[in-house]
């Protein structure tokens, strides 16, 4: 059965792009929390939640980056 390494590469590129966006999400989450806190309107539970999410975003970005790297390697091997 023929293989199509370009399709695997495309998946890898999408995941790599997502990883970058998730890393940016961590920054956006931090900005949301600091803006509300500075305005004195942040609900008391928000900081803990946002901290958990931005850590998760960072971890998810690393996971996706790793998956993207392995997909590129896989595409190379499948040529």
């Amino acid at each position: 059965m023929p293989t199509d390494p370009t399709a695997i590469t495309a998946r890898a590129e999408a995941l790599h792009s997502d990883a970058r966006q998730l890393a940016a999400c961590a920054d956006r989450l931090r900005h949301v929390e600091t803006t509300l806190a500075a305005g004195g309107v942040a609900p008391p539970w928000l900081r803990e939640a946002v901290n958990a999410y931005l850590t998760a975003c960072t971890t998810a970005a690393a996971d996706l980056d790793k998956a993207a790297a392995r997909l590129w390697h896989y595409a190379e091997g499948a040529r």
Partner: protein
């Protein structure tokens, strides 16, 4: 609303919107990872690089299941969706869902800033906190306590400003995978709630139960209703018109001569009609639901037919005003490209309606939307006071807060009218200004009765027959006479056979059908309450006779049970009474002979019957008493014969009957002929020995339809009776 509240709620809504955007980004990343994991191409390449492939699969699987990262994040595609639902059932959550849930919490916090009474109320605060913290049992307990303390309606009304958010939050975090999609749509503002956020039952599936192409019939308003209609066009005037016609399954169209002298038109559509959830009216509960969640509904299609019937020229300018379900229905019309190609929909004003995801087909249509935040109905599409998206920046949105009356009072058209008249002056003036071309003298008003589908012709199919006009002394009459609603009593008596044969002598009919040596005689009385000739009563005395050409056949009994089209036996009519002059004048054509015209009283119930012929001072006969036990049977056709004189032709008349009847084998009625009556009919009854007689059998029908056409001449030869 205070400046402090606005300063607090605004940033919270902005933050909620940002979190939704972040959640969508995370969800997209999860979808890409799921798609890669389930991609056939990757699988096909595995034999070429098994080691690298396994490592890639391992990393992808880790990415979509890492509780410290994306969480349990399978999404998209058949396999991904299935895996996601299984995970939801097991209580697994994704990072995207958690972030969007936090967005909902911020929306609730924003509403609470606008409505401090929500969090000041310990019961509501407890519920909101439990729902937000994903503490199911506590949320259920809090909701139960709230309902018990306040009653369901009051509790829902108090919760209304955050109703959608609380439901969506619970749905996102619970273990029911069926309601997740609806909750996601509510939370992200990407569309109307496709399912009930509690059970996950598909809204489309429920709305699809509301079927019909829609129909509209012109109807006349009562004088009191007409007097309440506005004489000058204005927002309050149009809304008061909606109040005047009420939720009665009707809508109204008006033409207004604008300040520029141009006549424009206004469609006014009320809300849901009380009563059965799915009646023939498109304004029923199902209709309200389908109007809210579907792009086209029987209600909007019925309104389109009303507008088409009203007779507007192509491109005529039209303003649409609707309340509640009517608002959703008029917005469906506004987003109907076909409708908008026929007419120019200039304005659409929806009051107390769930219309957030409606989009006018014509971008020039000016839309205004008025909602009270305590009104639950506008939140049925999932978006309420907590919405953090500007779903329609080009609309004029009046989302106000009046807690003086809770749901359902706050949803009433009268309450909205009062709010707009007294509390929302600026908003009302702005809408009136935009409705300027419609602010003139009302020159025409027409109400329509709406239905899911064109009404079936009354009496269809039995009474749907060709008719033909005949002249009568009372003018032209269409035959057959169609009776839409009648009742009848047929009483069968055993009469003196010799007397019966004497009455039949020279007629060509007879001998009378015998039962145990006695002649069978019928007294048939019916009340035709609603016919094509008006209402009337009639009574016929007849001697049962066999087939005129096979007089001695034993087949007379089964023949009497046949329909009129195949029956040869019948009742030879020896006397008739009617209480209608018009019918009496037609009698020679209908069944032959001259009937006696007199007062005829007829009362029939399941237990008893009462027939009285003649006014009290001129009573001819009475037949009354208990009917006794009855067996359900099909009502029978009637066949009558008559012959005025041996030289005249014999006539055969028939009455086709449709309906249920009851046969009474042991009737306790008694026929009494007034001893003072010298009427020929009274004389015949005495001659037959029926004065004081009880019938052998009765057939009663309390509801039936009949068709009576003109009698037909039959070439029955004259016959002289012989001793029988």
């Amino acid at each position: 609303m205070s400046a402090h509240a606005t300063a607090t709620a605004g940033p919270l809504r902005d933050a909620a919107r940002e979190l939704v955007d972040i959640g969508l980004t995370i969800q997209q990343a999860a979808a890409h990872a799921t798609a890669a994991l389930t991609d056939d191409t990757l699988l096909r390449a595995l034999p070429h690089a098994p080691s690298a492939g396994q490592a890639a699969y391992s990393a992808l699987l880790r990415a979509v299941t890492n509780g410290q990262g994306l969480g349990y994040a399978f999404t998209g595609g058949r396999l991904g969706t299935l895996a996601g639902k299984l995970g939801a059932m097991a209580g697994a959550e994704s990072l995207a869902v958690r972030v969007v849930a936090t967005s909902l919490r911020l929306r609730i916090a924003a509403v609470a800033a606008d409505h401090p009474e929500l969090t000041d109320d310990p019961m509501i605060d407890r519920l909101i906190r439990a729902a937000a913290a994903d503490r199911d049992l506590e949320a259920v307990r809090a909701l139960r306590t709230l309902f018990r303390d306040r009653g369901a309606v009051r509790a829902l009304s108090q919760l209304a400003p955050v109703f959608g958010e609380v439901l969506a939050l619970r749905a996102l975090l619970d273990e029911n995978p069926l309601n997740d999609a609806a909750a996601w749509l509510i939370a992200t503002g990407k569309g109307y709630a496709t399912a009930d956020p509690i059970t996950g039952m598909s809204n489309r599936a429920v709305a699809a139960l509301d079927k019909g192409e829609g129909a509209a019939r012109r109807t006349t308003l009562t004088a009191a209703e007409s007097a309440q209609l506005c004489k000058q066009g204005s927002l309050l005037g149009f809304l008061r018109d909606i109040s005047a016609i009420g939720t009665t399954g009707r809508a109204i169209l008006q033409s207004v001569e604008g300040p520029d002298g141009v006549v424009r038109h206004v469609l006014q559509a009320p809300g849901m009609r009380a009563g059965r959830p799915d009646s023939d009216s498109p304004q029923d509960l199902l209709g309200a639901f389908s109007s809210a969640v579907l792009a086209s509904s029987p209600y909007s299609r019925a309104l389109a037919r009303a507008v088409d019937d009203y007779g507007l020229p192509q491109g005529a300018e039209l303003a649409l005003i609707g309340h509640s379900a009517g608002g959703a229905a008029i917005m469906n019309l506004a987003q109907d490209a076909g409708f908008c190609s026929r007419y120019t929909v200039t304005h659409a004003v929806a009051v107390g309606s769930p219309v957030d995801f409606k989009r006018p087909a014509d971008p020039r249509t000016w839309v205004a939307c008025v909602t009270n935040q305590h009104d639950i109905i506008p939140t049925l599409d999932g978006q309420g006071a907590g919405v953090c998206f500007d779903l329609h920046p080009d609309w004029y949105v009046v989302d106000y807060y009046d807690s003086t009356h809770l749901f359902p009072l706050c949803h009433s058209i009268d309450h909205y009218v009062a709010n707009l008249a007294d509390d929302l002056v600026e908003a009302r003036e702005h809408i009136d200004e935009r409705l300027g071309p419609y602010r003139g003298r009302v020159v025409r008003s027409q109400a329509y009765l709406l239905s899911d589908r064109p009404p079936r012709p009354e009496g269809f199919p039995f009474l749907t027959v060709a008719t033909h006009p005949v002249d009568s002394p009372a003018g032209a009459v269409d035959l057959p006479i169609r009776c839409h609603d009648g009742s009848a009593l047929t009483a069968c008596f055993a009469a003196d056979p010799a007397a019966a044969d004497r009455l039949l002598e020279g007629t060509g009919f007879g001998p009378a059908v015998r039962l145990a040596g006695r002649a069978l005689v019928t007294v048939h009385t019916c009340c035709n309450r609603r016919t094509s000739m008006g209402g009337y009563r009639e009574m016929h005395l007849g001697i049962v006779v066999p087939d005129p050409w096979r007089r001695r056949s034993l087949g007379v009994w089964p023949d009497l049970l046949r329909g009129a089209d195949r029956r040869r036996a019948g009742s030879f009519l020896i006397g008739s009474v009617v209480d209608s002059e018009a019918v009496a004048s037609m009698a020679p054509r209908l069944w032959g002979g001259e009937p006696h015209q007199a007062t005829l009283e007829f009362g029939l119930s399941a237990r008893s019957a009462r027939v009285a012929v003649g006014a009290p001072g001129e009573r001819l006969l009475t037949l009354r008493g208990l009917l006794g036990p009855g067996l359900p049977v099909r009502d029978r056709d009637l066949v009558g014969y008559s012959r005025a004189d041996a030289a005249d032709p014999a006539l055969r008349s028939s009455v086709r009957v449709r309906g249920r009847a009851r046969a009474h084998p042991l009737p306790l009625l008694r026929l009494a002929v007034d001893p003072r009556s010298a009427h020929p009919l009274a004389h015949r009854l005495r001659e037959l020995g029926l004065n004081g007689a009880r019938p052998l059998l009765c057939l009663s029908a309390t509801g039936r339809q009949t068709l009576r056409d003109a009698a037909v001449a039959v070439p029955v030869p004259s016959w002289r009776s012989h001793a029988h």
